[in-house]
């Protein structure tokens, strides 16, 4: 079947430039925002530092200690100097960065999943479920986070096996820390998501979805959830930094990641 080429006459300027795709639009806006660009470049530099640095120093070298060269000032051989038991600090910063960034991102992933689940269930179903979940959320919110973190770190401390991923050995405490940071930080996110759900579930498009017989889970995850992404992304981004800091605090107090696995927090322990 052939379509006649002289169909509907198009206005000429409409075709002058092809419409931008969503990705191009996003990139344009991102490029125009100086702070966003600066932050993005910084993040890439950090990733290059801690993952690219692994090609310069081996992990064995990062954990290798030689007490004859302890507490040295920065030199050509050890650009960042050495720590109290004679490990190269630059190498430890590189490997510590890997773990710290890993902890930051995965802990926030857990936090986001928990926060969205609790917030979505409480906001969407309301009633008794909402009351129970929200009382629990508030209960966790009235204990200062650092206390909760320390108690949970102590709770899970004990015999933690070492884990092997990709031919490398980590202290199992990394996983424990990720879980407890995720488990103690989801409360704010849950409240944000719940508030969004409360207002969105009354809107017309949800009524339409319900009228066409869409299931509850589909409404929650495909109709309402995508509309709450903006505040969720903002909150999660800020949480990454908080998670890295939280790890540093509990490791500093000796209840976090165990030596010799390096993190940015552990690099501080004078030991």
């Amino acid at each position: 079947m052939t379509v006649p080429s002289l169909s509907i006459p198009q206005p000429a300027d409409d075709l002058a430039t092809p419409p931008l795709t969503l990705r191009q639009l996003g990139w344009l806006r991102f490029r125009r925002h100086k702070m966003a660009l600066f932050g993005g470049v910084l993040l890439i530099l950090l990733l290059v530092f801690s993952f690219g640095g692994a090609f310069v120093y081996t992990e064995k070298y990062a954990n290798f200690n030689d007490t004859s060269r302890r507490l040295q000032a920065p030199s050509a051989e050890h650009p960042f100097g050495t720590d109290p038991i004679g490990r190269d600090i630059l190498a430890r910063t590189i490997y510590g960065g890997q773990i710290s960034l890993f902890i930051g991102f995965v802990a926030v992933l857990i936090e986001t999943v928990l926060g969205i689940l609790v917030g979505a269930l409480a906001g969407y179903y309301g009633g008794a479920l909402d009351a129970i979940l929200m009382r629990f959320t508030e209960a966790l919110l009235i204990i200062p986070t650092i206390f909760l973190l320390l108690v949970m770190a102590k709770f899970f401390a004990g015999n933690i096996p070492e884990i092997h991923i990709g031919g490398r050995t980590f202290s199992g405490s990394v996983i424990v820390i990720i879980v407890i940071i995720g488990a103690t930080s989801w409360m704010y996110l849950a409240r944000i998501v719940r508030a969004e759900f409360l207002s969105l579930k009354e809107s017309e498009f949800i009524l339409a979805a319900r009228a066409t017989g869409t299931s509850n889970s589909e409404i929650i995850f495909f109709h309402i959830l995508p509309n709450t992404f903006a505040p969720v992304i903002v909150s999660s981004t800020l949480s990454v930094a908080n998670a890295i800091l939280a790890e540093a605090y509990i490791s500093f107090l000796g209840l976090g990641v165990q030596q010799p696995t390096a993190t940015w927090g552990i690099c501080w322990i004078p030991r």
């Binding site: 209960a139 966790l140 009235i142 650092i146 206390f147 320390l150 102590k154 709770f155 930094a241």
Partner: protein
């Protein structure tokens, strides 16, 4: 208003019960309190069994929680540890004001906490006052001269302060103001403790020892407050009534401090009010670094030895304070802004 406060207080009760139960169940697994009791020597199995019975640690978790909550003077407990309950317990439970006895020091928890609270409060209230005072000056300045060079420089500096972990600030300030100053022959600041044991706990000693911890704490919290004050001031300065005040020729000072700041102080009061109870917990990390004998260190020391009653006592006190301060803040808010009604 009275009804509102009563309602909020009643709502707080189940909340605190959930908190205490959650924390208690967590605390039960943080370690073995008997393991550290013998000091360096190993506890004999027979003694361990006796101690476990005497302390009631052999009871089911919920029973232990109940004893902690409402006491055990209504039931028979095993006081000599031979496996047979022989006389009534002597604990009154936290609901009747008995926080229990420390397993480590054998002293009442209220006494232990009572010793530490003033120390923590001195440190934290001082840093809160310093923080808020400087944040007010800086926040107002930045708001009045938005995007000026100084505003941009300050914003950048604050951001750096905000992103630093407190132990970095503390250790750096120790290095500069104690180590380097001593090398340079300048008067240097003390880095640990609350007073010089040779001089005693005098006012000037405590003040002198407070400088570094207060400074480190302020640097960290400063950024958040001053950004907040800056944004609220900016918002208020764009209001119609401020424009009216300006256009009728009031002096700038009066417009800023009377008209604008008074209205901007509302959210600031809320922020400070909600932060105040957390001061009780102290800054765990800061107290540890500066060896400040406050609540944070008490918490850490007793957590590491699984001393349930002390740790629970501290956390419950902070939790109660948070609940009470939330109510006070809300009431105060309504008093400041008559448009808000809670009935």
């Amino acid at each position: 208003m009275f009804q509102y406060i009563l309602k909020r207080l009643l709502q707080g009760i189940p909340l605190l019960l959930i908190v205490s139960l959650t924390l208690f169940l967590l605390m039960m697994k943080v370690g073995d309190p008997i393991a550290t009791m013998g000091g360096r020597s190993v506890t004999r199995p027979a003694d361990r069994e006796r101690l476990t019975r005497q302390l009631g640690l052999d009871k089911p978790l919920l029973v232990q929680y109940l004893y902690w909550l409402i006491g055990n003077d209504w039931t028979q407990v095993d006081s000599d540890g031979d496996g047979v309950p022989d006389k009534n317990g002597n604990r009154l439970g936290i609901l009747r004001g008995d926080f229990g006895t420390s397993l480590v020091t054998k002293r009442p928890v209220t006494e232990l906490i009572g010793e530490r609270i003033p120390n923590t409060l001195i440190l934290m209230v001082a840093s809160e006052v310093v923080t808020v005072a400087f944040a007010l000056i800086l926040g107002i300045y930045s708001a009045l001269r938005q995007y000026s060079t100084l505003d941009n420089i300050l914003t950048a500096l604050l951001f750096i302060g905000y992103s630093m972990p407190i132990f970095f600030v503390s250790l750096m300030s120790m290095y500069i103001f104690a180590v380097l100053f001593k090398q340079w022959g300048l008067p240097y600041l003390p880095t640990v403790g609350m007073f010089d044991p040779q001089v005693g706990k005098t006012f000037s000693q405590v003040l002198w020892h407070m400088v570094l911890p207060v400074m480190s704490l302020s640097v960290i919290y400063f950024a958040g407050y001053s950004r907040y004050i800056r944004s609220t001031m900016l918002e208020v300065m764009n209001q119609d009534y401020v424009r009216t005040a300006k256009s009728k020729g009031l002096p700038r000072r009066q417009v800023v401090y009377i008209h604008a700041l008074k209205n901007a102080s509302l959210p600031i009061v809320t922020l400070v009010g909600l932060d105040l109870p957390f001061l009780l917990g102290g800054a765990v990390v800061t107290e540890r670094i500066f060896a400040w004998p406050g609540m944070g260190r008490l918490f850490l020391d007793h957590l590491s030895r699984a001393d349930v009653s002390v740790v629970m006592g501290i956390m419950m006190m902070v939790a109660v304070a948070v609940v009470v301060f939330q109510i006070i803040t809300d009431v105060f808010y309504a008093w400041l802004d008559p448009r808000i009604r809670y009935d």
